[in-house]
Symmetry: C4
Subunit: 211 residues, 4 copies
C-alpha cells in the first residue's frame, strides 16, 4: 500500500522543529549570584559551539529532507520505517550535543566527539537508504515528472555523506578541532543544492553529449 507523503512530512517537520528548538535547553543560564556575567557567558563557548553546529546540521538536514520530498510523492511501508530510523537519529542529537558541550576542554572530549559524529554518520547512512529506496525500481516512489538527472545528482551528493562523517570520526583521534571543522564544512556542502554541488550525473562519460 502506498500513500501520500503529506503526513510523513508533517510528522518529520514536527520532529525537526522540536529537536532543533530543544537544543537551547541544554545551554545553562548562569545564576544571578555570578560576578562578571560577561566572563561567565564567555566561558560557556563549548555550549554555543555545539549548539551552533547541531543547529546547522539539523536545519540543513531539514532543507535536504524538503528537497528529497519535492521529488518523492508516494510512501510505502519501507519508506515509513526508513524515515522513522532517520527521525531516531534526529531525536538523539540533543543528547549528543549536550554531551559534547559538557566535555569539550575536558578529558572526555574525544569520546564525546566520537559519539557526536556517530549520530551524524548514522543519519547520513539512513538518508542514503531512504533516498535510494525511493529512487529504486525506476523511481517507483518519485513524482512521475521527476527529472532523472536531478535525482541522480541527489544520489551522488548524498554518497559523500557516510564517507565524510566516517572521516570525521577517524579525525577525532588526531584532532578534535579538525573533526568539528569537518562537521561545519559538511553542513555547508549539504546546504548547496545538488545541481551546484555535483557537476555531472553518474554514468555519463566525458565524451557523452550532455543534452
Amino acid at each position: 500500500m502506498t500513500t501520500e507523503t503529506a503526513r510523513l512530512e508533517a510528522f518529520s517537520d514536527g520532529v525537526f522543529a522540536i529537536a532543533i528548538t530543544l537544543l537551547i535547553l541544554e545551554i545553562k543560564v548562569p545564576s544571578s549570584e555570578t560576578v562578571g556575567l560577561g566572563a561567565e557567558l564567555a566561558r560557556q563557548w563549548p555550549s554555543y559551539l555545539a549548539f551552533f553546529i547541531s543547529f546547522a546540521f539539523i536545519g540543513i538536514m531539514w532543507i535536504n529532507h524538503h528537497r528529497m520530498f519535492t521529488h518523492i510523492k508516494r510512501a510505502d511501508d519501507t519508506l515509513l520505517l526508513l524515515n522513522l530510523a532517520l527521525m531516531f537519529g534526529v531525536c538523539v542529537i540533543p543528547f549528543t550535543t549536550a554531551l559534547l558541550a559538557a566535555q569539550l576542554g575536558h578529558p572526555g572530549a574525544r569520546t564525546a566527539v566520537v559519539a557526536y559524529d556517530s549520530a551524524y554518520l548514522g543519519i547520513a547512512v539512513f538518508f542514503n537508504l531512504l533516498w535510494r529506496h525511493a529512487a529504486s525500481r525506476g523511481g517507483h516512489l518519485l513524482a512521475d515528472n521527476v527529472n532523472r538527472e536531478d535525482a541522480e545528482k541527489i544520489t551522488q551528493q548524498y554518497n559523500y555523506g557516510p564517507l565524510a562523517y566516517g572521516i570525521a570520526i577517524a579525525l577525532a583521534w588526531v584532532s578534535i578541532t579538525a573533526s568539528l571543522l569537518i562537521n561545519l564544512v559538511l553542513a555547508c556542502f549539504f546546504a548547496i543544492p545538488p545541481h551546484v554541488a555535483v557537476r555531472r550525473a553518474p554514468g555519463r562519460g566525458k565524451h557523452e553529449p550532455s543534452s
Copy 2:
C-alpha cells in the same frame, strides 16, 4: 456534526512528534568531571534500552495512526474524544520511560515495568475503540471507497494488542527481560502492514471462495 480529519491528524502528529522527541530529555549527560566517560556512558544502558523501546513504540504507533486515517475520512465528537484518550496515553510515555530507565537493575524494576506496560495496554485498548467506532455502523466514518477486507484485517491485527500487552504485564512477575522482549516483538508485529500480518479476514470460513 462530522468534520474533516485534517486538524485531528495535525494535532496528533504534533503530540506524537513532541512525545517522541521529549524522550531524549530523560537521558542524563554525565558531568565533565567524570573519569572514564566511555564506562560512564555504558552504565546508562537502561536509559538507552527504555528510550529505544519507547521510540519504536511511539514511532510504530504513529505509522498505525497514519494507516488508520488513510481509511478514516470523517470525524465525529466521539472520535475526537477517543483520539484525545489515545493522545493521553502517548503523553504519559515519556514519564513511564523515565521511570523504567531509573529503576531497571534496582528493586523497583518490577513495579516500573508494570507501569510501563500498563500505559501501552491502555493505548492498545483505545486504539481498538477508536478504530471500531470509525468502522462501526457500516463504516460510517470511513472513506466511501474503502476496501472492506482491508478494514477487517486492521480490526483483526489490533485485536491482538490488548491481549498481548496484558500478557506482557503478567510476564513482568516472571521475568522483566521477557516482558520487555515482548514489547519489542509487538513493536515489530504492528510495524508489519495488516495485509501481511493477518492472512485471512474474519468471518470467512475455509471453504468460502475468496472471490
Copy 3:
C-alpha cells in the same frame, strides 16, 4: 486584510500539542534508591490529578478551537491577536499545573488553586472574545454557508465559561476539592457539542416556531 485560517490553525495546533505534552515533564520520577516504589508513586497523587485536569482542559479546549474554526473561515488582524492571547493562556497552563501539583496538601494550596483557575478564567474570556469577534457584523469571518442557529448555540455555550470559572475561583476559599471538581465538570460540559449542551438558540421565545 483577511487571510485564510490554515496557518493560524497550524500554529495553534502546535501550541496545543506542545503544552499538552509538556505537562508530563512536571511529574517527577522517584529516584532508584527509593524503597517501596509503589508507595512513592502513590504519594504523587497531586501531580497526577493536576496533570489529568489540565490534560482534559487543554484537550477539550482544542476540540472547541477545532469546532469554532469549522465555522471561521477568514482571519483578520484582530482575530490573530485574540488567538495569540488565547495561546498565551495555553502556554501558562504547564506552570499553573506544576504549581498546583507542588502545593496540593500544603499551606499554599488555596493560592495555587486560585492561580490555576485564574488561567482558565482568562482563557474562557478570550475564547468568548475570539468567537464574538468572528461572529460579529453578521458573521463577517464565518463561512458563507454557516448555520446561524449553530453559531448562536456556540455563543450561548461559551457564555457559561467566564461565569463558571469565576465561581470556581470563589469556591477555592470554601473548598479546594469543590473548586477542582467544578473544573472537571466544566471540562465535561465543554466536551459536549453545542447543539446538545444548549437546547434553544438565544433570542427565540417559547412561542416562536422553530421553522
Copy 4:
C-alpha cells in the same frame, strides 16, 4: 530550483510554537515548603516580565511571518537559508529570556538586557534580508497578483526594526527599564498591519498622484 512554501511554513510554525511554549519552562515553581506562596510568586516578577515580552515578541513575529508568506509564494535555496537563520534567532530566545529573568535586579542585568536585545536585533536584520530577497528582482518569489504598494509598505515597516532594536541596545547603558519598554512598544508597532503603520509607500513624492 524554486518550490512551494507549504513545508517552510509548517517547519517555521513548529519552531515558533515550540519556542513560545518552552518559555514557560524557565519560570520556576516555588517549593511546597514555602511560607507565603503569594509573596513568593510576587517576587518572581522578573520572570513574568521576561516571559511576557518574549511571548509578545515571538507571537507578533509569527503574525508578521504569516503576513509575509501571504505574499511570498515560492521558495528558493537562499530563502530557505535566510529562514533558517531567522529560526536560529527564534530558538535562542528562550535562553536570552531565562538569562534576563535570572539577572533583572542583579548586577548582571545590563549584560543580560544587551544579550536579550541583541537576539532581537539579529532577528530584525534577518527579517529584512528575507523579505528583501523575496521582493528583489521584481518580486520574483512573490505571488503574481501581489499588490506592489502593499509589498513596499512591508519593506518600509521592517526598515524600522534593526534601527529600533539598535537603539534599545544602546539605551540599556542609560536605563534598563527604558530598554525593555522600547521592546514592548516595538512589539505593538509590529503588531499593527503595515498599511496602518506606514502611511505612504517609499519613492512616492508629495506631489505625485497616488493614482
